[in-house]
Each structure stands twice: as C-alpha cells, then as structure tokens.
C-alpha cells in the first residue's frame, strides 16, 4: 500500500484540474463547478484512503518520495507525512469541497454575468433578497436596491462581466494543491515555494471575488494580505538560505532535506537568527499578536468561501510551521524564545477575544476570534509537553471545523441580506430556525463547550500547559470566559429577541444545498467532541516524537498533574 504515491496524487489532481477548469469559458460556469466539486470530492476520498494506509506508530515520514530538482542547491522534490501533516491534509481535503458547495450560487446572482440581459433584472430575482423588494420599501430596502442600479450603470459603460466562475474554481483548486504541498513537503525549499505560492490564489480570491460593493477596501485588504505575507516570507527566505549555508558548512554538500537538517548541530547564536526568520513568517501567517492586523481586513473582504480557506487552512500553515520547522530545527532557540512566544500567545487570546466582542461586522468578528484561537494553539505548541502539543495540533483541525462553520453561517446570512453588519439582523431564530441552530452549534464549538470538538483540544492544551507553567494556564483559562461572551453576544444580537428589521421577516431558511454543506461539519464537530481518539491516535505519536527529538520529554508523564511537587519551571 505504501508504494502508492498518495501525496503526489493529492497534489497533482487539483493542480491539473485547475488548469482544465481555468480554460472553461464563462458560459460553462455550471460545468466548471460540477467538475471542481467532483475533483475535490475525489481528493477527499483519496485523502481518507491515504489515512487508512497510514501507520500511526511508525517513526518518521510515510508515503515518502524523493526526486532531485535543483541539485546545484541540494533542492529536491521530497514529500512525506507524519501524523501532524496528515490530519491537516485531511482537513484541507474536507474544507475545499465544502467551500465549493457553499459558494455554488455566490457568483451566479452576480447580475453582470448576465451581460446584455441586464434589463430583465427586476423580474428574474437574481439577488436573493430581490423578491421582497417591491412590497417592503423603507430604509433598508433602499440599501438592498442599490447594487443592481449601480451595476446596471457600470454594465452599460463597460459590458464586461466582472467575475468569472471558472476562474474562481481554478483558484480554489490551485489553493488546494498548494496547501497539500505545504503540508506534505519534506524539503525546506519546497515548503517555502508552496508557502509563497499559495499567497497568489488567495490574493486574487480576496481582490477579485470579495464583496462587490467595496472595491477600494477589497484591494486594500488584498494588498495588505499579500505584502504582509511576502515580507514575512522574505525574512523566512533569508533564514532558509542561511540554513542551507549552515548545512553546507556542516555537511559535504548543502541540502534542504528536512531529515538531514534536523541532524545538524547549529550553534545557539545562529539558531536564534534562523529561528527569528522562520518565526516571524509563521507568526504573520498564523497570525499571532502583534502581526495580525491584516487578518480582520482579509477575513472581512474575502468571499465567504475564501475566508473559510484563509482562516481555516492558510493560517494553519503558520502554526504547522512552528511545530514542523521552528521547534525541531532550532531547539535551543525555541527554548530561548519560548517565554516571548507564550506571552504573545496569551496576549493574543485576550486581545483577540476583546476585539471580537466589540465588532459590528460579523466577518471581522470571526477573524478576531481566530486570533484568540491561534493564541491557544501557540500556547500549546510552546508549552513543550506532548499533551499540550497534541492538543494544539488537534486544535488546528478543530478550529478549521468550528471557525469554518461559523464563517459559512455568516456567509449564509450575508447571502440573504447582503450585509455583514450585525445591526441588520435580530430575531432570526424565529424566521430561520435551522440557520440559527447551526450558528449556535458553530458558536458553541468555537467557545469550546464540552461535547464539541474544540473542548477536547482546548482542555488538552490547558492541561498540558498547566504541567509546564501553572500561571500561564490559569490566565489562559479565563480566555474561555471571553470566548463565551463573544459567541453568545453575537448569537443574541442576530438570532434572539424580536425581529428588528422588516426585511428580515421573509428570509428563507437553509436550502438543501446549504444543509448538505453544514451537515458533515456538524457531524464532525459533535463526533470529534465525543470520540476524538482516531485523530489523537494519529497526532500523538508524531508530536511526542517531535518533542522527544529535541530533548523535551514531559515533566512527569506517568503521574497525574497534582502529584507534582510544586514549583514552576
């Protein structure tokens, strides 16, 4: 079974499909979507099959492949997975089809795609809220009526469709291929290439497919995202080259092979510099406080599907990089910088949560909650216990599910009302009970209620941190309270109470397509909350191996935490 090149298959299929889909003309939008869905579902099936072929307790990378690429610089196409990267690839394979399905109609209603048929707009109800227009009237209705009018004006001046569904699908597929590559690469250079390459599709997703009305903010957010990430990436490039030069000094021939680099005995001073280069890139990507300011903008301006992938997957590349590269390659420096990272993590937990409470825009709110969650993940990673580390990796998956679902729900709301402003909603639980229920589940998972997936991971992180540093763990625990506030406050303002806007009275509840999108997510949220063992079994050996390799065994593995004889480390 291991002779199957799983990873290359998972990488190549979406990449090839992207090329094919990109060549589709605009009028074949539906076919493009169908093909994309089929391909991404096939990738999901393959990823699940690969998971069954994976042996959790075998040391080292599995499904490895190794071909020389640029031998002058010791660069090779080398892929392989351990438990950590495998679960993230699974998450990728799951979220992409979900996003494809959730964005199914998002750009169909775009009146400019209709081109010359613009005159038929009022009747055909292209916009979801268009049906209620003539009767309702009032202030909000004017708001809703604005886009078609503006759009018609533009359409007359320049009869060019604004957004192309095949391009959107192709960007998603490129992103999927890039993400699989990032998680599967076992050559640092290859990792870097994918790390940078995934920026480009996301950049276009934000810039070209974000909310139609906010062109200026959209390009601002897209550019900010790209420049932030590039700056981090370039600092990492310096460190990547530095690592190569160090390897060339230690070994006969310089290399980027992760396994060989791991064996290097780099002097602590050099380690600190290299660590800093990698860490800043990952901290921007994740993002950790204070490198986060691009996230709310990007999260708010991306199309909903893009936001799910951005926060659910792209940002995981940052936290994944921390445990895959920063800690094993630079153990001394990780030690040295751990207090800084932990402090940033705890600040992020509070800062993100507090800002989330104060947001009026739902997408920005969800983005800020992610900042808090990334704080927890970083905390778990740098507590250097296998429990906290396992929890953190599980948290990466769970965060993808819960925040992904939250973004999807927000997206459903936006699709119905055309705005992300919380003030435009209220009392929706009566009108759209299923939607409200899904939002509640997503929210509860986000605040880590026991019985949902996030509880397990958050608990593991906190317990693991507790054995490392009690004060930190206690402080971080209070972050959960803030999480309850931002989630419940959001739910309260949008779903409970009387219906505050007439326009909301006739909103449709979830369609079958939307239910199909959320069903697997909810199933996983509950399922992993009750029975997380399958994932933990995959993750734990790899995390333990990572920490053991750098000489970090748990403080008191066999004993319960209470029996430790006091004293913080």
């Amino acid at each position: 079974m291991n002779s199957v090149p799983w990873l290359t298959i998972l990488l190549v299929i979406p990449a090839l499909a992207a090329v094919v889909v990109a060549a589709f003309p605009r009028r074949l939008a539906t076919q493009a979507k169908q093909l994309t869905l089929a391909v991404t579902l096939a990738v999901l099936v393959l990823a699940v099959l690969a998971t069954f072929a994976y042996h959790p307790n075998r040391a080292g990378f599995q499904f490895s492949q190794h071909y020389d690429w640029i031998s002058t610089f010791g660069i090779s196409y080398a892929v392989g997975v351990d438990g950590i990267s495998l679960v993230l690839i699974l998450l990728t394979a799951l979220l992409v089809p979900v996003v494809v399905l959730s964005s199914w109609d998002e750009f169909d209603g775009d009146p400019q795609d209709e081109g010359p048929a613009g005159g038929a707009l009022p009747e055909d109800g292209g916009l979801p809220a268009g049906g209620g227009l003539p009767e309702s009237g009032g202030g909000t209705a004017v708001l809703v009526a604005t886009p078609p009018v503006r759009v018609e004006a533009v359409a007359q001046a320049v009869p060019v469709p604004r957004r192309s569904v095949p391009v959107f699908c192709a960007l998603l597929l490129v992103l999927e291929a890039g993400l699989v590559g990032v998680f599967a690469a076992t050559d640092v250079f290859l990792f870097y290439v994918f790390f940078e390459a995934i920026l480009i599709p996301m950049y276009f997703l934000i810039g070209s497919f974000g909310p139609a009305q906010q062109q200026a903010q959209r390009s601002y957010a897209a550019v900010k995202f790209l420049i932030y990430s590039l700056l981090g990436g370039l600092l990492m490039l310096a460190a990547v080259i530095g690592l190569y030069v160090v390897s060339a000094e230690h070994l006969a021939h310089g290399t980027f092979d992760f396994a060989s680099l791991r064996q290097l005995d780099i002097t602590p001073g050099v380690q600190k510099l290299l660590f800093a280069g990698f860490f800043i890139a990952f901290a921007i990507k994740a993002p950790l406080f204070p490198f986060h300011t691009w996230l709310p903008d990007a999260g708010a301006q991306a199309p909903v599907g893009g936001a799910v992938l951005l926060v659910g997957l792209l940002d995981k590349v940052g936290t994944f990089g921390l445990i895959r590269y920063c800690i094993p390659l630079f153990p001394d420096a990780s030690d040295y910088f751990a207090p800084v990272v932990l402090a940033l993590a705890v600040i992020g937990i509070f800062y993100g949560a507090l800002l989330a409470i104060g947001q009026r825009d739902m997408k920005r709110l969800v983005s800020y909650t992610s900042l808090a969650h990334f704080g927890f993940i970083a905390l778990g990673l740098f507590a250097f216990t296998s429990q906290a580390g396992t929890g953190a990796v599980l948290y990466m998956v769970n965060h993808g599910l819960s925040t992904g679902l939250l973004f999807l729900v927000v997206g459903f709301l936006i699709a119905r009302r055309g705005t992300a402003d919380i003030g435009a909603y209220g009392g929706l639980a009566k009108v759209t009970p299923v939607l409200a229920g899904v939002m509640l589940i997503a929210g509860l998972s986000s605040l880590a209620l026991p019985g949902t997936n996030s509880f397990v991971s958050e608990f593991l992180v906190l317990v693991g941190t507790f054995t490392y540093n009690k004060a930190l763990a206690i402080v971080a625990t209070t972050g959960i309270v803030l999480a309850a506030i931002y989630v419940l406050y959001l739910y309260q303002r949008t779903m409970t109470g009387p219906i505050t806007h007439e326009a909301n009275r006739n909103l449709p509840d979830l369609s079958w397509r939307e239910k199909a999108v959320v069903a697997p997510m909810i199933a996983l949220i509950i399922g992993l909350g009750v029975y997380p063992k399958p994932l933990l079994d995959i993750i734990r050996p790899s995390v333990t191996a990572t920490y053991t390799d750098v000489g970090r065994s748990d403080p008191a593995p066999p004993h319960p935490v209470t029996s430790q004889p006091g004293g913080r480390s």
Binding site: T72, V160, I200, V223, A238
Partner: protein, 521 residues
C-alpha cells in the same frame, strides 16, 4: 634614417590573432559593417526586410560560434581579449537578448503607421515634417546596424582583459545606444531629451573610466587586468593611485548598470527611448556591464577585495533602496520598470558582495533570468496602446485584466517574476545571488535586499491591483492583436521566465561550469 626605422619596425612582432576563437565577435562586427552598406545601397522598402534578417542571421551565427567555442580558456590577441567560461556565457546571453530585441524592433504592425522607430530622426519636433515622420510607414533602418555595433561592443566589453580594450568596447557599445535612444516614433521631444541626457552623462562617466584607467596604468605600469593584480603590493608606487583607479573605474562601470548614485539617467532614458530599444538596453547593457564589473573586480582588483567590499556594500544598499523606494512614486510604467531595473542592479551587486565563485554563478544566472523577463515585460508594454501611442501612464492600465485577461495575466506573471515569487525565474535568480552572499558572509546585506524586495513587491502588486481589481476605463487603451513578432518575443520571454523558475537546473549547470572554470588571467 630609414634603415633605423626599418630596424625598429622589424623588432615588433605582430600579435597572433586566433581568428577562430574571436569568430563570434568578428561575425557580429562584419554583419554591422554589411548593415551599413545595405543601408547605403539597398532600396528603402527592401532595407526594412533585409536589415532585420541580416542582423538576426548574424546573431544566430555568432551564437553558434559561441557554442562551438565552449570550453576554450585562453588569452587572445596579445592578452587583450580573454575567452573563458564567463565570457562565453555572457556573450551567448547578450546574443540571445539581442535576437529577441531585433524581433521587437522589426515589429511593424504595432502602430497604425509603422514600428517603434521614427521615419526620420532629424526632423525637428513640431515642425511641418514631423507629422509626416510620425505617420510615414518608413523607419530609420540605421537602427539595425547601430544595434549590431552595440552588440559588438557588449561582446567585447565582457571579453576584454585589458582596460584600454575595455574602454574602447565601452564606447562601441554606448555610442549606438545614445543614437538609438533618440529614435522613438512618438513623443519625439522626450526621446531626444533622453538621448541627449544619456549622451552627456555617458560621456562624463566614460571620462571617469578613462581617468581611472590612467591611474591604474600609473600604478601598475600596465593596463592588463592580470598585471594590475600582480602589481598590488609589489610595486613601489603609492597606493593612492590604486585607490583612485578603483574608485574612478567603478564610477564608470556603476554608471552603466545604473547603480545609485549614478542612476539618474535610467528613468529618463528608459522612458524616452523606443520601447524595443529600452528592452534591448535593459537586458543587454546590464549583462555587458556586469560582465565587465565582474572581470575588473575579480581579477584586477581581486587582491584588494577587503578594501572595496565596504564600498560595494554601500553602493548595493543605496541602489536597492533608491530603486525600490522611488519606484513606489512612479506613475509611468516605463519609469517604474526603470527604477525596478535599478533595484535589480542592487540585487546583482549583493551577489558580488560575497566575492566567491557562487557569486559569479549566481550573478550570471540572475542576468539571464532578468533579461528574459524584462524583454518580455517591455514587449507587453508596447502592446497596450491608445490612439496616442503606448499607454504608458499607469492609470490607463486600469481594468485591463477584465478587457484583455491574457495580456494582463502575462504581464502579472512577469511582474511576479520581477518581484521574486517562487516558481518564476525571478525567485530562482534571487535565490542564487542571495545564497552566494550569505555564503560569503554578507548576511546583513541580504536582509536589506529582502526588505527591499518586499517594498518592490508593493509596486509590482499595485499594477496587478490596477489591472484586475479596478473597473476598466470607458476610453481605455486597447491591446493590439496583430503584431506577431512582439507576441513571439513576449511569449519566448514569458516561457523562459516560467521554465527557469520551475526547472532551472540545466541553466544553473551551464552557469556553474562557466563560473567554476573561472576567469582566464
């Protein structure tokens, strides 16, 4: 009396000229001369066909000659010309870029009337004949021989092992470029002003070079690069001569690559020159000037590397910062690419700062990648036009991604290559030079370079934003779809950008072989 003269002349043994080893140079030189004759005797209409074919065939023949010479490692013509790995690599590169540029110059289906070269350069702008000169289907076919002469100069420039020959080569490559700059069909005044500026500043910098040459001779008693290096520390003369020589020669060479603070001509000339000439200049001159810099600094002033390294660092940092920061403020796309060229010169200098063989390899590789991308970028620029010629103002590019996705997509890809995004040649090139610099203990310089890359990325990305995320203008420019030659050039350049980004190994091997054989002394 005459007997004495006779006796003296008999003592001079004529240098043996290995014609076969000099064949690339000779071929191009002869083609240039034939081109002049063609211009004198052929019919006006026939010239427009004969000249580009002749120039192209000459370049191809010379390229074959270069390929046949591979592995040669010798000093020729009494030590004046060096044929070695780096020389042949760079001569080949120059020839390929010249070939692509000839395609651009030969393009005659861009403008409603003719190509990018004016019909009659001598007509005063604004006078009665100027409209006729602009709309005439004719062109100054002298542009072709001028280009070929310039290529001769470039090829000699990278091969010269002797400061005097190098100076001659510098002039041969520069003078035709000054003229070519003034030949733009549209915006004649701008073009002429650029030519004038380029000529004056260029002459000035040549004087610096010549002055430095004199000091070098005064110090070492020879103008041969190897002998200057041998003289360091062994001659009894004061070192002040040597330092003056290094400084003055460096000024002359830095001017040619457009390194700060000698860069001020670059934006004006890039903007004013006909776009095909700009492409040729940006790609070819850079290769030639870097070839000369590498040779002078690695051979003649090699023993002094600890003295000039700090200066090189300072110039590199200044060049990168000036290029990246000033590009941010540009509104004209050709000026923006000019500042980008300055920044790239800075990145190349970073590679040199390592003063090792890796740096030589990296710089040579970088020059190839940069040249292809730049030529393709200028080719694309020449495609986007309004009724008034090229749409050079950035605001006119608004929304191009909606109206002409293919052209805008290609240009975006090229901009990403210039910004150094992975899987483009720009990234591989940057990687190669930065790796050399870090291996040569120039890490701080690399960090500055990377920060500048991030700044530079901002203005490249700004163009992409304009093209893709903005609404098209109602009266926007159109993309001309007829010009096959320009499309071919843009296509070749873009393809090379992609291939060298994804599979750079063959070229790296070539550069590695060339670099590790080293300079012949």
């Amino acid at each position: 009396m005459s007997a004495i003269l006779l006796a003296q002349t008999e003592k001079i043994t004529p240098p043996s000229i290995e014609y076969s080893s000099l064949s690339p140079l000779l071929i191009v030189f002869v083609v240039a001369l034939v081109g002049v004759l063609v211009d004198a005797f052929a019919e006006r209409a026939a010239r427009r066909v004969i000249q580009p074919v002749l120039a192209g065939a000459g370049f191809i023949a010379a390229l074959i000659a270069v390929a046949l010479l591979h592995g040669r490692h010798a000093l020729l013509a009494a030590g004046a010309v060096a044929i070695d790995g780096p020389t042949l690599f760079m001569q080949g590169t120059i020839l390929v870029f010249a070939l692509l540029s000839v395609l651009l110059v030969a393009e005659r289906r861009l403008d409603s009337s003719g190509g990018a070269i004016v019909a009659s350069a001598a007509v005063t702008p604004g006078s009665k004949g100027s409209t006729a000169a602009r709309t005439s289907a004719d062109m100054q076919t002298e542009a072709y021989p001028l280009m070929v002469f310039s290529v001769t100069g470039m090829m000699l420039f990278v091969a010269s092992n002797n400061l005097l020959v190098m100076f001659v080569a510098l002039e041969i490559l520069s003078l035709p470029l000054y003229l070519l700059t003034g030949l733009a069909r549209r915006r004649r005044l701008l073009s002429q002003e650029a030519a004038m500026k380029y000529f004056l500043l260029g002459a000035f910098s040549s004087a610096f070079f010549l002055y430095g040459l004199a000091f070098a001779y005064g110090y070492a008693g020879s103008v041969e690069l190897g002998k200057i290096a041998d003289a360091v520390g062994t001659t009894g003369r004061t070192d002040a001569y040597l330092y003056l020589a290094v400084g003055l020669i460096a000024v002359g060479l830095f001017f040619k690559i457009g390194a700060a603070p000698f860069h001020s001509w670059t934006p004006d000339v890039y903007q004013g020159a006909p776009t095909p000439v700009t492409a040729f200049m940006a790609a070819g001159t850079k290769v030639a000037a870097f070839g000369a810099i590498l040779r002078v600094f690695y051979i003649a002033f090699g023993p002094l590397r600890w003295d000039w390294r700090p200066v090189l660092w300072a110039v590199a940092i200044l060049t990168m910062v000036v290029g990246a920061v000033l590009a941010l403020t540009q509104r004209d796309i050709k000026r923006m690419l000019a500042y980008s060229a300055i920044a790239h010169a800075g990145f190349l200098l970073v590679g040199l700062a390592g003063t090792n063989t890796d740096g030589l390899r990296g710089a040579m590789f970088y020059l190839v990648t940069y040249g292809f991308t730049t030529i393709a970028a200028f080719a694309v620029i020449s495609l986007v036009r309004t009724s008034d010629g090229e749409a050079s103002d950035l605001s006119q590019w608004r929304g191009l991604g909606r109206t002409s996705p293919l052209v805008a997509g290609t240009f975006s890809f090229l901009l990403m290559a210039l910004a150094g995004i992975p899987l483009t040649s720009g990234f591989t090139g940057k990687f190669a030079v930065f790796q050399a610099a870090i291996a040569g203990h120039a890490t701080p310089l690399v960090v500055v370079a990377l920060v500048c890359s991030a700044i530079a990325a901002f203005f490249y990305v700004r163009v992409i934003v304009l093209m893709f995320f903005s609404e098209p203008l109602a009266q926007g420019p159109v993309v001309v779809t007829r010009p096959t030659l320009t499309f071919a050039t843009a296509g070749i350049g873009t393809l090379a950008t992609l291939v060298l980004g994804v599979a750079p190994q063959p070229l790296l091997d070539l550069a590695n072989t060339a670099a590790s054989s080293g300079f012949v002394r």
